[in-house]
Symmetry: C2
Subunit: 387 residues, 2 copies
């Protein structure tokens, strides 16, 4: 029943079909690295990382909220989402500075005026300014904004980023080993470079979150925010966009639209202070807490000390998603995992807390013939093994 | 009346509104270069070029044709379009080799199965293989395929490419000067690396071409290929997708879906043979034959010897577009312009013809206080001046 709902909506957390199609491309040299890296044709001492990702269907919710409230700031948030989905993937291979970002935006010009594009660009520029204070140089290289109303109902916001990483600093995830602990970095709260409370939602699972939480009123007022063929599973929740949320001063729409937190300034410091001590990094995006499975070798990662579940995920779950599906779709509390020796964990946790990011050892690695991720949750134990 | 049609469809050849929004980004050092270039953080002898473009609404037509005929090959063509719209922009600054390409694809999973994604990847791989024969190394770096049916009606296919160009080979267009001739490279015919006749359509103006040429039957059968709010101007032409075209063995759908020709192998040879002699390069994409205006300084470019109009453009025009609009939207016969001294033109023309690409001097540059492009066409003289 619940599975049906996802199938009908045309989303899946695992994207197996896409992975099958993509498998034809030449395999990457480092099969467990979080991002594909390429040899730099003119500098053999470094790799280059060309990476693509975007804000996904979060922009459909941003559109509805903007129409409802007139608040253009949500588009700055969408810019941040598209940006951070790239930068924070790339920092998992060690690329933490000198990043070039190109935007790819497709819009329905009849619904999306120039001021929305301007707000997205402002969002990118504000993010760049914030990172500059931490010595992180992100360069906006322009991109393409196409008027493609026959393809795009409202607006799609993607970005492609280019980064570089010295071979001596590259993190392949090949050094993740039995005995390592997993330090989790909280996805919610308010850290040093955030202007307000971050719900922790990130940019994954937004199709589910939007349709499960918000009511048919949204579908009726903004039919351009969903595929009419999925109407029976669209906006089946109970909330209006501007209903109060459990978090003081933030309405339901804003809670779900909370821009994805970047860990860049913290990880830049971690890389500097802990050189050679980081065994691996995983960004818990599509696939949620089970994403880890793709990046380990002959290990069982036991996550027995997860963060308390942030309110936004509690709301989504109560709107009708099975707990296991929640952990497969959302980060549920931490979006970045750092694999290190146990003795190195306290220094990282301390650096994180100094920047206003909660951090803790959320699990550990056991030797195992079959790769597996095991979650101990308030709803029981969930296990996924590699096939 | 005709202008209304374009406004209603939410497309414009000039994209002024987007340019206004983007103007806030830091200006490029070279204001007349065809692509923005960036300093390479680790190699001061070269620039890097990070560029984004895509197949645009051509994929809506590919979808309809694929559904109508079952022919998956159209998706290989769409892959080529997204690729060449990047590579051939980038060769205008001199980046002709060692190119990395990342794909950004958004699909409605309920309409676009995995075999379409596989065909797009095959198309990319075939293009890479073809270019390899000419010593051109294009590296597919993966990318992102997102299931975003609430945003995308069918499928949107974009690409972002990374290239490098030595500062000594960089073409800024600053050397385009009065007295230069303009060598045009034909967009149609069949060149050495093409498997069949190329109509020359490229990847611009496809919203107009599709709706003006094809009939309401397409709208009725495939309503997912257009925005319902523009129904009165959608598919107002007289042809069915599989009607015979004036070109033997090619139906109307295939004629308009003809994959964008790349000039890469030819231009690689031109760069090698004519080092230092190329004053400027313009890729006639959005803006058609008037695109040139953005890349000149105190000049009037007179194009008085344009190619005969290829059949596809003749068909589109006869479907109800004013001639001037045709030249503002489509390439009308040549898609690449090379600015050189008159004495250097014959060598380029000869190299082009050896590869099966028709080429000729299509115009020349006059000194002028006001930048202008002047077209002498079978329909009279059309002029656009810089404001």
């Amino acid at each position: 029943m619940s599975d049906d709902k996802y199938l009908q909506r045309g989303v899946s957390s695992g994207k197996e079909e896409v992975h099958d199609a993509v498998r034809k491309l030449a395999a990457s040299e480092f099969s467990r690295a979080f991002c594909r890296v390429e040899s730099d044709p003119s500098d053999s001492s470094r790799y280059l990382v060309l990476h693509a990702d975007g804000a996904g269907t979060k922009s459909a919710l941003a559109y509805a909220y903007w129409k409802e409230t007139g608040n253009l700031d949500v588009w700055q948030g969408i810019a941040t989402d598209a940006m951070v989905m790239n930068t924070d993937d790339m920092l998992c291979v060690g690329a933490d500075n000198h990043i070039f970002v190109s935007s790819t935006i497709g819009r329905n010009k009849n619904l999306i005026p120039g001021k929305v594009i301007a707000a997205i660009i402002d969002g990118n520029m504000r993010f760049v300014e914030k990172m500059k204070k931490y010595g992180i140089d992100i360069h906006l290289s322009g991109g393409e904004t196409a008027d493609v109303g026959d393809l795009v109902r409202t607006i799609i916001v993607d970005a492609t980023a280019l980064g570089f990483v010295g071979k001596n600093r590259f993190i392949s995830n090949n050094h993740i080993a039995a005995g390592d602990v997993v330090v989790g970095l909280s996805s919610s709260g308010q850290c040093e470079w955030e202007d307000s409370y971050n719900s922790g939602i990130g940019s994954n699972g937004l199709t589910s979150a939007r349709h499960d939480m918000f009511s048919k009123i949204v579908a009726q007022k903004y039919p351009e925010t969903f595929d009419a063929s999925i109407e029976n599973v669209a906006y089946i929740g109970k909330y209006k966009l501007t209903d109060v949320s459990p978090v003081k001063g933030i309405d339901m729409g804003s809670l779900v639209l909370s821009p994805t937190r970047t860990y860049l300034p913290l990880m830049k410091e971690v890389f500097e202070q802990m050189e050679g001590k980081i065994h691996g990094l995983v960004h818990c995006t599509g696939g949620g807490q089970f994403k880890t499975l793709k990046f380990i070798n002959q290990l069982r990662v036991v996550k027995d000390n997860l963060f308390p579940i942030p309110p936004v995920f509690d709301l989504i779950m109560k709107s009708g998603t099975f707990p296991e599906e929640m952990y497969r779709t959302f980060n549920m509390g931490h979006r970045l995992e750092i694999f290190v020796n146990e003795k190195d964990a306290p220094a990282i946790i301390s650096m994180a807390k100094n920047k206003g990011i909660d951090a803790q050892i959320i699990g550990y690695c056991l030797p195992s013939e079959v790769n597996a991720v095991e979650l101990e949750t308030p709803f029981g134990k969930f296990v996924k093994e590699e096939k």
